[in-house]
Structures are given as structure tokens and as C-alpha cells.
Subunit: 726 residues, 2 copies
């Protein structure tokens, strides 16, 4: 493992028919190679890509976005259905074979959302978001009251306790202050973790309810100018969002593991482990200030003080609140759009996805992604019209019901698991396509270098070099704190352009965690303080996010390039040496942790030796694939190798799933049960260590080691096939 | 130098007639020794100390403080004279030989302090501090308008630029933003450095004026509950304070280096290098919010955002301000009180000092110190009345004019330099005596262990062990951010209870930096947000700082114990091995820095060899002093050695002073020219490195090395005397 990270050129598993120069990694292109392509095919691929990249158009992306954000279109509503129908039309007009796939899912649409302070004085809260004359959309009559999806209905009155971000460390701090939330309403600020984890922890601590607010110290005036003068959240802005326990399983709560077709067998809501039992509601900063001005009790620890102009107190004291929620649950229909551009090999699918449902207008989240996907689709369609036929089938998916809980994607993956596991090459996700100028990506380690490569071939809209160069430049700057929901990028090595690991919070989750399909997510981030609010609208995008829509066009080029490279490759550009390196590092850290905690059993030590075996197998497969160089083309044998390459990821699934949450089957990555959106590595093993449970640890370590050995065996098979390739 | 820090028991230079047990350093007392005392004298000393410590009384400290804070008593006013007269009476009543020593100094008393926003709208600012019904003192008619001492008079109107803390890094950041303060009014928040440095830097950048405000993110509501509900600064609270360039020289600006007696030769104010040429004024947070709400221009870097509920902008933009100051400068009289309790040897003085002048009422700063000093004085007086005569003379000083610029102490030290250098043993300073429960101390390294020892013998008012134990406990906790003016404590080694180095900001400065007298400062700190405001009054102390006045009584015991140990010691307990260790460390770091910057000349390398020589000499002197054990007492020879021990510090003075500020003569410590209150080590050398000036570096390095060799020679002389002691 003496590879220099960032120049893992020897470790590229695919057929490397040329030596990548150091200059390549340093941001300039080597002039004759594309990872995964035989030399004879590089020129044609380059011409095809150049043609594709010439098509996406900023003005069309803008008009797409204006159309998509013309009305609020929450999942489960007719407006969302209308968006799906329009998308269907678009894909068909581009030449795709498109259809709407609908599911019947358990979904609320609240009829009453009420909050008042009842002591020390009476005050009506749950104030709506302010309308601003310069932005007519903010006056739209169809904006629903802000709520948290999958909160139960409730009517509770109780004293309030401020719990900071409401994560586990905060409750430990509360305990040291001698304060309990039992029977109280917990008031948490947004940030530092998925809101569904805040609810889960509050429920475990027996809170009567949870209120979550947006603190101006996190994504409001302290971060920068607020809407409509700037991109940050104004005092009345509310972050909607789901509190479904997606960390247990995402998708329709009543059909875990199977597609929510009309005839699917359903469990009772009371038996759904992904549903909370305490009410949760979101409020804005101005309402939170009223409550926090009356909390009383001890002064908070310094780090708990937010940006409101008052001294924060923990409570419980004078402040007593009354929450009333009538959620109106029923079976509601959601509408995915699945569009295919059939390839020579219809048994190999390159899948792209983006959700179309939004909390309100969703200009950034998700329709900047939708507007972009449409431009990518239009470009692919034009290539096809001009005579090109994809080598593999390209499947473009527009998901519904992502916001309440990744429902459209999860149900589709659950319904089609067997076919997907047989055919899928990889999954490319877009969600927040454009929220600013900073490119960011997350991916399974096998795909990271592919993402870096694609960004080297797309010009940055800033006019200074490629997206890759700008990305490397901004990723080397210290991170700006921001209120954005996801942290994606973590440098894996100095000098390297970092890609994050995939946790949860978007539609790649069922693909990777349930079906074992290698995935990535790409997009441009920025100063985006209006997440899940009324103000995430066209005006915001036009004034702050991407006024010229050039980042939309650039993203359409990146996504198109990624799709073509996966679609057209001779040998799929999966880098398992890099994957094995990340696993080996994590194995070392895990064994060290277990040793420190006195839990380093034989099973735990097996993780290291299985990781070493995986690394050795990855190296051999890489070498064998490189040895193919010069052999005559044999498409059938190529496809046999490619099928194996695509399925290494599936070897890492444990059929029985993780302990306590069997839906999650990936042994290497999962969203943390208590950690937020971020990916946890070796989730089963680390949670067993968290619980200090030697039995669970043995089970999870055995399961992980077995997965690593399965992946190693598949890589050995690839080495055998490659060596035999003639 | 193989000493284990925190257990430098082998390095104690004084006659160590007993082996300090490890338990001693761990917080419990060894039961038979006192550093510096012959075994035959320990029992008597212990009895004397116990008697002294039985005398200070919380109720008397409280009544002292109530009396001292009965009216505002700013330096240069008749009220300050009245306080001096009352103190004179007190010291005389305790049996001290006391007198008032007055000086005539150049001092302002403003007749007009005006600030208004003139654009984009007209708004009167410079709002006064709000009165609160629960605290009658806040209605006092004699509270003067808040101002910054030594601002010139002025009448300027200009756009405003926000400069964060107004320190050097901030101007570098401004430059990178392309913003200049030239011709503008700079708006800075308090903190991160002495306000006189903020003015100096603003002047160097050609600002037309400077406004300094207290940001609630630093010492207001974000830190905790505000006055009168808590100890932190309310929105109307203003921090007064001097902007005299004390970093160039403190004291009367017209008589640098000599006492400001009526007949002293004076320079013209225009020639006084310690006077600013641009106007500076302090304002409260509510006025700052009005200005910052209109600054305009670029959004600030994230770290510049303070705690006000708005987005901070750098400017210049719409906001234009009009400052008018009429300062009414003239010669005014200040009144020191000098009280002596004569000892057997009137040629050896143990000096204690505290200022009595206050910006308004000064309950914490400085009168918690004054109230405490009076209790120490009363205790010493009672001991004397019951038949004890001090071995050395105890001199207790109550300084006037500290707030405008350490004037009372500086003039007295300047006037009496020769006598002080001949007679002074050490100087103990108290300023903020009690602002809460956390003991803190700063000292020349030779005295640090003496301070730790004294706190081992005083019970902590919390009821849990000694002050030392509580001190060690809280100093091991992570530092709370706070708005307190001075950072005193920096751990020099893990496990050690840290004592800070002496920078500036109080009356030890002329003793140490000008006269080379070993010094220390002690006091209890805490959540103290009302620094230099109207609200630093008796109500604050009674409700927040020390409601039972037990910390005042404890401090009187600590100070009394320190005074007795210095007064009665057979061999003065100066630890030059510890001092040499700190110097050696700093020498290593300095040579490394010079090497990194390509400036490691022969002169610079000489610092290391001179430091090594000092360490060797200190070790030999220590050993020789230990060898005295068992010799018969010979007071004359003891005093000869003690005089040399006390004067090692003076060897570290460079007669020509530091480059650019000749008043500062100490080669090891000085306040930074641009760094704030904190001490800079090897100030001449480091500033020459800052300037990248090889010539200055050679001069300063030679001067430092020569000082270290002088100190080494004096320690060699001590070794010779100790070896010859019979």
C-alpha cells in the first residue's frame, strides 16, 4: 500500500492503456487517454463528449427552472403530479422511452399546525413566512403551513427545555446540568444532524414533543445578508423537513423492503419502526426568540448560545408551550418518471436520478437538479437523433416523495431490486444541483477518480480554467461554516481534491445501501440559507444562486460526461485499489479503537486481515486488467468482466443487514443511527462498539470480514477473466 | 535542565533546608518547611502567618468597598482626592507612617462628547448608560460622559469602516478586501488587545477617527445574563478607558522618565510620543447597532461577525458619522498614598500597590483590590501593635491616575528610581482584586513558586480545600471565552498551575519594566462583563462578584502571607533556576524563528549561549545556597546575599532601553507594541524580527545577550558569597 494518494495511478483497476502523467492529476489533461477506453476508441469518445457538452444551454435551464417552480409542488399533491406529467412530456420529446410509475404511500397533509406560548404570557406563534413585494412568488396562496413530515398528530402543553442542536452530546450536557426533558417540550435548533435523529433522541428521552427552529447564528443574519437582500434565511424563514426515521429505513413506512404497489402487503402504522411517537414541528427564528426569551433556568454552556439577541437559558422555567398538530394521514399517490434511452446492451443500465418534489417551490432543492437533468437528457437525445446509439441503456429517473423520506426512489429500488442488481452499472444522483459556485461531490471510492476526471473536461463558469481547478482551489480553503444540510467533502489526503462518502439524505441511499449499486452525487454548493423554506424559489436563484444559469449548464455537461464515460467504456472505470485503501485505513482505525476499549476479539482482528486480502486481490485484478493491453477487442468477454466489476459493490452487502436495522445491508457505509447525514464507515462494527456490546461486535465484525472476503473473491474472478482475455 | 516542571524542587535557588515532598507540589503541605526560612525560624513564621490570616474580615472588606464606591472618583477630580484622604486616614489608623504624594499631570476632563449618524439618516448617538431602579447608584448625577482618556479634541465627519477588533491582522484582512480607512472613521469592537494599540494602528492607517464599542457577542448577552439580572454588560453599557500609547511609555505624557513634580521639566504635548493624533471615543452596543445597520459595503469575513442581530458589513457605504470631542486638557493633580510599616532593616522594602482611581464607581476595578489591601494593612498593623516588628519595611501604595495611564505609579517609580533599585525586594500588585471565584496570578518567573506556596496555605471560600487546589482545578479546565480585559494565565507545562507573564495594563509596569523590580499580580477573576462601565459598582459586587465578600477576605490573607514571606525570609525565595529555564526555552524558539526567517546571525546565536551560561550560573548559585544548611545565622551576610538576589532582575535591564521606546528597559518582558496587554518575551529581538531589520536585530540581540551575562555574573557572585557564608 505504498501508493501516493491523489496519484493512485498504479491502482486504477480498469484497463489502463496509457500512463497517466503526473500532470494529469495536477489538473491538466493528458492528451490521449480516457480512463476505461481502449486507445482505438478514445478519439470517437472525445468527439462524442465534445458534441454532448456543446448542447446544454443556460437559457433553457433557466426556462426549465421557471416552469418547474411556477407553483408549490409538494409530494402527494396534484401539483406534484402535474410536474411529473410535464417531465414525462419533456423526456418523450427528447426521444426517451418514458413512463410514470406511481406508488401508494402513507403520507400526511396537515390540516392544523398550531403553536402558542401559554406562560408566562399568552402569545400566538407558528408565524408564517413573510411575503416580500420584490418577489411575487412569496405571496402564493398555495403555500401550505410549515410542518415536519411524519410527525404524529398531537395536542400537548408543557414547559420548554432548550436542548441546543438536540444531538446526543447535548443530552449528555443536559444531564450534567441536572435537567431532563421528560414530559417537557424540547426546543432544538437545526444543524449538526438530520432532524429525524433529533426527534428520535428526544423520543428516547421521553420528551412530550419537539420544536426545531432555525437559529440566525447558523443560517441567518450572522452568516450573511438575508432574503430578499441576500441568500441567507430571514427571521421568518422556516425549515420544513421530514422526521421519518430514515436511519432505520427510508421509503414508505408501511412497506419496508418492498415496493409500495397497490397490492403490496402493508404493516400497521403502529408497527412501523420508522415512525416517531412524539410530535415535531419547525418554527422560525422570530418565534424561537419569544420562547427563548422566557425559558428561564440555568444559563446555557457557551457553545449553546446561538445568534439571537438574548441570553439563552436551558429551562425549564416560566415558558410553557402548547403544540397542536392535525396531520391527516392517508394513502396518497406519488409519481416517479422513469425515462430510458435504450442501448446496444439493454442488460446494462447507467442510472441517473433526481427528485422533483419540493417543500414549496424548491428552486435549489431539488429543481436546480431537475432543470439540469433535463438539459443533460436533451443533449443525450440530440446525440441519439444524430445517429448515435448508446452502448448501454441510460435510465433517467425523476423521483417523487424524496422530501418526506426518499420514497419514490426507495419504492422503485425495492420493487426492482433483482433486475437492478443484475443490470445496474452505477447510479448518479443530483439533488441540490446548483446552490452556488462551489463544485462538490460524494461517491463510493471506486468512482471518485471518475468524477475528478469528468470535471477536468468541463470549463468552470467563472472563466478560470476547468471545474476541477476551481474545485481544487476552493476545497483547499478552510471550510466556511454554513447552514447547508449536508457536509459532503472531507479530504482523504493532503493535496487531493476531496470527495465525501455517501451518507443519507438523498436518493442514492436505496441504490447503495439496499441494493449495493456504486453511486455518486454531484452538484454546486454555495451560500444557501433558505433550505426548505418558501424563499427557495426562482427569485433566489436568479439573484443569488446562479443568476446567469451558467452553473446549471456546466453541471449538465459534467453529468452528461459522467453518463457517457460509464455508458461507452470498454472496461468500466471502477477503482477498487482506491476502495481497498480506504477500507484498509478504516480497518486499522477500527482495530485500534477496539483495542483501546478492550474489545479487540479475534473477530475484530479478522477485519484487518480481510481488508489486506481485499487489497491484494484488488492489486492483482488491476494488474491483470492492465495486462489486457493490445489484445483484440472481444465485446462478449468485455461485458463478462464489466458485469463482475459492477457487482463487486454488491459483495459488500450483508444479506441479513445491520443489527437493529436490517434494511441497511451495506457493511462499509450507512448513515449513522445518531450521527446525522454523514456516512459512518463500518457502521455495524462502530455501533456495536458504541454500545460496548461484545456479542453484537462479534456478529458485525464477522459479517464485515465475510463481505470483504466475498469482494476479494470477486476481484480474484476478475483477475482470472482478465488473464484469460484474448 | 532535566527538571520536571511543576516539581522544580532541585532548582529552587533559596536555601532549601528540607526536601519538598512530591505531596507538596500535589497540593498538600509538607509539614515543616517554608521556602526561604531556616528551620529554626519556621515555627515562629508559621505562628505569625496564622495570626495574620485570622484577622481579615469579610464584613470589613464589604464596608470598605461600600465607602470607596460611594461616589464616582475619576483621577484628576476632587472625588479622587477625597478617596486618597480617606485612605491616608485608614493607613494611619492601622499604625502606618503614611503620606500623600501628589503629582501635576497633563489630563483631560471632557466638556463635550458627541456622536451622531448624519447619513443615511440623522440619529443622535453617544447614548448614556441606562439607570436601573434596583440599583440607586446608577442614577448618580456625577457620572461623567464616557470617553477615552488622551483622545485629542476633534470635530470630524466621515464615512464609517468596520475594522473588527482593529488589530494588525484585521487591517491585513481589510487590505485584501480592498478597503482603506484613510480619511474614514474606523469602528472597532473592544477585545483582543489594548485600546491604545487600536488607536495607534488606526492612526498609522490614516483614519480620521476611531469609535470603539462593546459587542454583545464578546461581553454582553451572548456571554450570559446582563446587568442588573446578571454580571454581563447590558446593551447601554460603555467601556471607558485610556488610549494613551503606554506601549511607548506610560505615565504623564509630558514628563517621560522623570517624576511629574511641579518643578519637573516638561515637553510640549505635540512632542509627546505617547499621545494619539486622532480622536477616539467609546460607545455602547445599542449605538453600534445603529451604525452597523447602515455601514454597507462588502459582507464581513465570518470571524468578524459579532453578536448584534444584523449582518455586519465592512463599509464604507451609506453610514457617515460626526464625532465631536472637547477634551479640556490641563495640568491636574493626582494623589498617591504611600504608607510604610518600618522594619528592622529600613533599607529593604517589600512593596505592595493598588490603584484607587476608578472610571466611575470601580467596585471591581480597582476597589475590590483597595478594600482587600486595607484588610491586609489592618492585619499587619495589628501584628505590629501586638509587638511584632517587620524584618524589612513594608510599603503599601495606593495609586491615583492608573486608569488614564499608570500615572501615579509611574511618576513615583520615576521619581524614586535610585532608591527603589537600592531597596526594593519585590512588588506585589493588586488591581482587579475580586471579579469572581477564580484565582489567577502573573509574576516574574523567580516568584511564581512563592505565589503557588502562599495559596496552599489559604482556605478557598468555596469550602473545598485550599485556594491552590481550586486554582489548579479551574486552570485545567478549558478557558471560557470572556470579555475580561486581560489574559493572565498560560500554562507553562502540563500539570503545572499556570501563572502568566506580566505584560502591561497595571501598576507593576514601571516597577518591572523601568526599574527592574521583580513583580507579581494576584486576584480572583470571573464572569465580569461590566469592566470600565457605570455598572462596575457595589450592587454588581454584592449580587454577582462576591456577595459574601469571602473572596476579598481570602485575597487579603494571600496578599498578607506573600508580604510576610518576603518580609521575614532568611534568604529571599527567588527561583532563578525556573527563570533561567523559561529564558532557555524562549532562546531556543527565538533562534529557530530567526533561522526560519534567514536572520540567524552570530548575535542571535549568542542569545542561546548566554542563556545557557545563565542556567549554569543559576544552578551553581542554587547549589551554593543549599550548601549553607546548618551554618550559624549571620544576618549581615544574609542581607548581603539578599541584596544581590533582589538585584538579579535589574541586571536584565538594558540602560538604553528597547529600540524605538527607550523607556522600556527590560530585555526579557515588555508589553507588545502591537500585541495588546500580553507580555512579549525578548521584545526587542522579536520586534526586530517582525520588522525584518537585521541591524536592529543585531543591536537587540547583543543587548539581550549582554543582559543575560550580567545576570549570570550576579548569580556567580551569589554563589561565591553563599560558598563563603559561615
Amino acid at each position: 500500500m505504498a501508493d501516493v494518494p491523489g496519484r493512485r495511478i498504479l491502482g486504477i483497476l480498469v484497463a489502463v492503456f496509457f500512463l497517466l502523467s503526473a500532470a494529469h492529476s495536477a489538473g491538466t489533461r493528458s492528451n490521449d487517454g480516457i480512463r476505461g477506453f481502449l486507445p482505438s476508441r478514445v478519439e470517437a469518445e472525445r468527439a462524442l463528449e465534445q458534441k454532448l457538452r456543446s448542447i446544454p444551454d443556460a437559457a433553457r435551464a433557466e426556462s426549465n427552472l421557471r416552469r418547474l417552480t411556477s407553483e408549490p409542488h409538494m409530494a402527494g399533491t396534484e401539483a406534484s403530479h402535474r410536474v411529473a406529467e410535464w417531465l414525462l412530456e419533456q423526456y418523450r420529446s427528447f426521444g426517451f422511452d418514458a413512463e410514470i410509475v406511481s406508488y401508494s404511500v402513507w403520507l400526511a397533509e396537515p390540516s392544523e399546525v398550531k403553536l402558542e406560548l401559554v406562560a408566562p404570557e399568552k402569545k400566538t406563534l407558528a408565524s408564517p413566512e413573510q411575503a416580500f413585494p420584490q418577489d411575487k412568488d412569496t405571496y402564493d396562496k398555495h403555500v401550505a403551513a410549515a410542518f415536519n413530515a411524519y410527525s404524529p398528530s398531537a395536542d400537548v402543553t408543557a414547559p420548554v427545555v432548550y436542548v441546543n442542536y438536540g444531538m446526543q452530546d447535548d443530552y449528555r450536557e443536559l444531564e450534567s446540568l441536572g435537567v431532563s426533558v421528560e414530559g417537557k417540550i424540547a426546543l432544538a435548533r437545526y444543524g449538526h444532524g438530520y432532524r429525524g435523529i433529533k426527534t428520535k433522541i428526544a423520543e428516547e428521552h421521553k420528551a412530550a414533543g419537539l420544536i426545531i427552529y432555525s437559529d440566525p447564528g447558523d443560517d441567518g443574519y450572522a452568516a450573511g445578508d438575508t432574503f430578499p437582500n441576500g441568500p441567507w434565511r430571514p427571521m421568518s424563514g422556516i425549515q420544513r423537513g421530514s422526521v421519518l426515521y430514515t436511519q432505520i429505513y427510508p421509503g414508505d413506512p408501511l412497506t419496508p423492503g418492498v415496493g409500495a404497489t397497490p397490492e403490496a402487503k402493508r404493516i400497521a402504522p403502529a408497527d412501523a419502526a420508522s415512525l416517531s411517537h412524539i410530535p415535531t414541528m419547525p418554527i422560525n427564528a422570530q418565534d424561537a426568540a419569544v420562547i427563548l426569551g422566557n425559558t428561564g433556568g440555568a444559563h446555557v454552556p457557551r457553545a449553546w448560545q446561538g445568534g439571537l439577541p438574548l441570553t439563552y437559558h436551558v429551562g425549564p422555567g416560566a415558558a410553557k408551550a402548547h403544540m397542536k398538530l392535525a396531520m391527516n394521514y392517508q394513502q396518497r399517490t406519488i409519481y416517479d418518471v422513469i425515462a430510458k434511452l435504450r442501448g446496444e446492451d439493454d442488460n446494462a443500465w447507467v442510472i441517473l436520478g433526481n427528485h422533483h418534489d419540493a417543500w414549496v417551490f424548491g428552486a435549489v432543492d431539488p429543481n436546480s437538479g431537475t432543470a439540469t437533468m433535463l438539459e443533460t437528457a436533451r443533449a443525450l437525445g440530440e446525440l441519439a437523433r444524430s445517429g448515435w446509439k448508446p452502448r448501454r441503456t441510460i435510465v433517467m429517473c425523476e423521483w417523487d416523495g424524496e422530501e418526506p423520506g426518499l420514497i419514490g426512489s426507495t419504492e422503485w429500488v425495492e420493487q426492482n431490486r433483482a433486475e437492478l442488481q443484475a443490470k445496474a452499472v452505477a447510479y448518479i444522483n443530483i439533488d441540490v444541483g446548483v446552490a452556488g459556485p462551489n463544485f462538490e461531490a460524494s461517491a463510493t471510492p471506486s468512482l471518485k477518480e471518475l468524477v475528478r476526471d469528468a470535471t477536468r473536461d468541463v470549463a468552470d463558469p467563472s472563466g478560470t480554467g476547468s471545474v476541477f481547478e476551481t474545485w481544487r482551489e476552493h476545497s483547499s480553503r478552510p471550510a466556511q461554516e454554513s447552514g447547508a444540510a449536508r457536509t459532503r467533502a472531507k479530504a482523504e489526503a493532503p493535496g487531493d481534491v476531496p470527495l465525501g462518502a455517501l451518507g443519507s439524505g438523498s436518493d442514492f441511499c436505496p441504490f447503495l445501501d439496499f441494493a449495493g449499486i456504486a453511486s455518486m452525487e454531484v452538484g454546486f454548493s454555495g451560500d444557501y440559507g433558505v433550505y426548505h423554506s418558501l424563499y427557495d424559489d426562482f427569485y433566489w436563484m436568479k439573484h443569488f444562486g446562479d443568476p446567469a444559469f451558467t452553473y446549471h449548464a456546466a453541471l449538465a455537461r459534467i453529468v452528461g460526461t459522467l453518463a457517457l464515460r460509464l455508458d461507452e467504456a470498454d472496461f468500466l472505470a471502477f477503482d477498487y485499489t482506491a476502495y481497498a485503501l480506504e477500507i484498509s485505513r478504516a480497518a486499522g482505525e477500527t482495530v485500534t479503537r477496539a483495542e483501546q476499549e478492550g474489545l479487540a476479539s479475534t473477530s475484530v482482528k479478522e477485519i484487518s486481515s480481510a481488508a489486506a486480502q481485499l487489497a491484494a486481490s484488488a492489486g492483482r485484478a488491476s494488474q491483470a486488467l492492465q495486462g489486457i493491453s493490445g489484445a483484440p477487442v472481444n465485446v462478449a468477454k468485455e461485458e463478462e468482466i464489466n458485469r463482475e466489476l459492477a457487482r463487486v459493490e454488491q459483495s459488500l452487502l450483508a444479506p441479513e443487514g445491520l443489527l437493529g436495522r436490517p434494511w441497511y445491508k451495506h457493511t462499509i457505509y450507512a448513515p449513522g443511527s445518531y450521527g446525522g447525514y454523514e456516512a459512518e464507515i463500518f457502521p455495524g462494527v462502530h455501533e456495536a462498539l458504541d454500545w460496548n456490546d461484545a456479542g453484537a461486535l462479534r456478529r458485525e465484525a464477522d459479517s464485515l470480514a465475510a463481505a470483504l472476503r466475498r469482494a476479494a473473491a470477486r476481484l480474484d474472478e476478475i483477475a482470472r477473466l482478465a488473464s484469460a482475455y484474448k
